[in-house]
Subunit: 373 residues, 2 copies
Amino acid sequence: MEFAPYTDLNTSSRILLGPGPSMVSPRVLRAMATPLLGHLDPEFLKIMEEEQKLLRQVFQTHNELTLAIPGTGSAGMEAALCNFIEPGDAVLLCVMGFFGERLCEIAKRYQAQVDRLDCPWGEVFDPAQIEATLKGKAYKLVALVHAETSTGALQPGIPEIAAAAHRNGALLVLDTVTSLGGIPVEIDNWGVDVAYSGAQKSLSCPPGLAPLTVSERGREVIKNRQTPVANWYLDLNGLEKYWGQPHAYHHTAPISLHYALREGLRMVIEEGLEARFARHRANAELFWEGLDSIDLPPLVPLSYRLATLTTPQIPPGVDDLSVRSRLLDEYNIEIAGGFGPLRGKVWRVGLMGYSSRKENITLLLAALESILH
Amino acid sequence: MEFAPYTDLNTSSRILLGPGPSMVSPRVLRAMATPLLGHLDPEFLKIMEEEQKLLRQVFQTHNELTLAIPGTGSAGMEAALCNFIEPGDAVLLCVMGFFGERLCEIAKRYQAQVDRLDCPWGEVFDPAQIEATLKGKAYKLVALVHAETSTGALQPGIPEIAAAAHRNGALLVLDTVTSLGGIPVEIDNWGVDVAYSGAQKSLSCPPGLAPLTVSERGREVIKNRQTPVANWYLDLNGLEKYWGQPHAYHHTAPISLHYALREGLRMVIEEGLEARFARHRANAELFWEGLDSIDLPPLVPLSYRLATLTTPQIPPGVDDLSVRSRLLDEYNIEIAGGFGPLRGKVWRVGLMGYSSRKENITLLLAALESILH
């Protein structure tokens, strides 16, 4: 048997400015430390019901099937695919970065016939191009990422893409992991059928729950399945019967994370969605101005640049990893590096939820300037 | 948009004596409220490494592939099946209660050819019967539940069953959800190939992580798969590359739950496994004596009765639900009812981890006596 570490938990006070998790406010941390209720306690079922109502407000939807998947954002992505895909179904997946790639990887596990549309990392699709492709084949669904965490690009034209999907008999599945709670996401107005997110980005809660919402059109597709969902834990039939009547046991909910998500969602609604989006935008602009002044221009043009996640370009001759190590070791600041074709070429800086504060931006810019110049 | 609930979280102080979650000690709750580290922060990777070492001690194993699945106990069950099953594989599933049924339900989703062996709920298998069945067919694996939470029965003879499985070329998959940390579980000595558990039972941590361990024999089976694991989130290939070198991003770990699990495991090791098992046993015996004295004899004979979960029989004419409601409303005590054939016939009382304390037993017995007599 190996030696057991008996030391107390002793963590550094990190300033989390990567792509997530973002910082969690003391209010949410306190809520999480509340002693447990049972997962079928009437008091806990009420908490879940309140959480559902709050999630509907944040998603801007009336969708009855709105809940939090008991896993992290990628479990949300898998749930958003596996409940709708049956073996042999044709799906169109739009790939503009790492998380588009992950959509493909997951869809293949469920034996979908995957067609992919690619655009260079850091760019976005012309909705007309997606519509043209949708016309060519009977797709069950088209999936894409609203806010690509790997590139910092924000896909425009979601309402047009949703309309095109519906005209061609397909569902629109939208990844809102890095957008929900930080920039506008309007599920009903836009006509999105399935959307998922993560608790640990702009909602600023601890990771471990993935908000998800499904339109009536999406529910019909689930109802008309010929085969059982090929994943037990993420099967929305079982999850829905636990969240709603008859509140039948499915899994033991992660009680403490629900306490935290409810509290984090309350904070979102207290701040107000519009005010929250404005704060994220104003802080992002402050950061972008600062980046220009220290010669670290963002990769993504202003017209489709994400407010919640920025990708400053690493100057030639500067070593990605050593700068990030110094930020962490000397300043307790976490930012992330690039993935795939952007590895070593950009940093990824998240300004989400409780992390999106002026003092963090001023500190990061000063630290970067001190390290680089 | 519906009305948002703005009230503070205001929960009753429950005494959790159901089948889980069990109560969480203040130390673990405090650890959970620690501000977050990033999921790739070197300090967090160290915490996961310590967690792995502690899990190996608790599982009594040297298995390298030992980690916590980022989901609740049922996700652990699904991981323990989907990583080993390929379409068409023959599996033998031993069903002695609700969680044996769940094994079947999950295995079918992965297109296994399922043979089941049944025994009446509340009873256990004769290992010789399992061996005889194993001889009849080339099974990829045999799975069974060590401690059936739905009945309170403890399956004896795990080493014999493991040996029989190996003699016949099968893996042994063991559900230790309600045993790990409360009664002896000796993965290496017994020859178990795959075992999973839940954080929220005898380990007394909040739900949301499922400890899992895989033997070298089990890893070989994963390595020799012809098809990818039909579940992305629970694919041990991806999980292992995140927990170990190269620490490649797979999902955003539920940081706060890992803080909690590490602290809860430390408490297990500080108490000592033998002392902890003795405490669970002594408290269970105290409870059983008390049940006899108020005419609520346990369903399961002493020889294979579980120390962590007892199923007292509901006397004729007593209404299950109204007694449980009074326990909750008047005494803040949670116990659970029976499932399936045991619905209305037994209660399920868990004495696990931090819930296994004399004061809880004395209170529950007094409350039951007052309600019933």
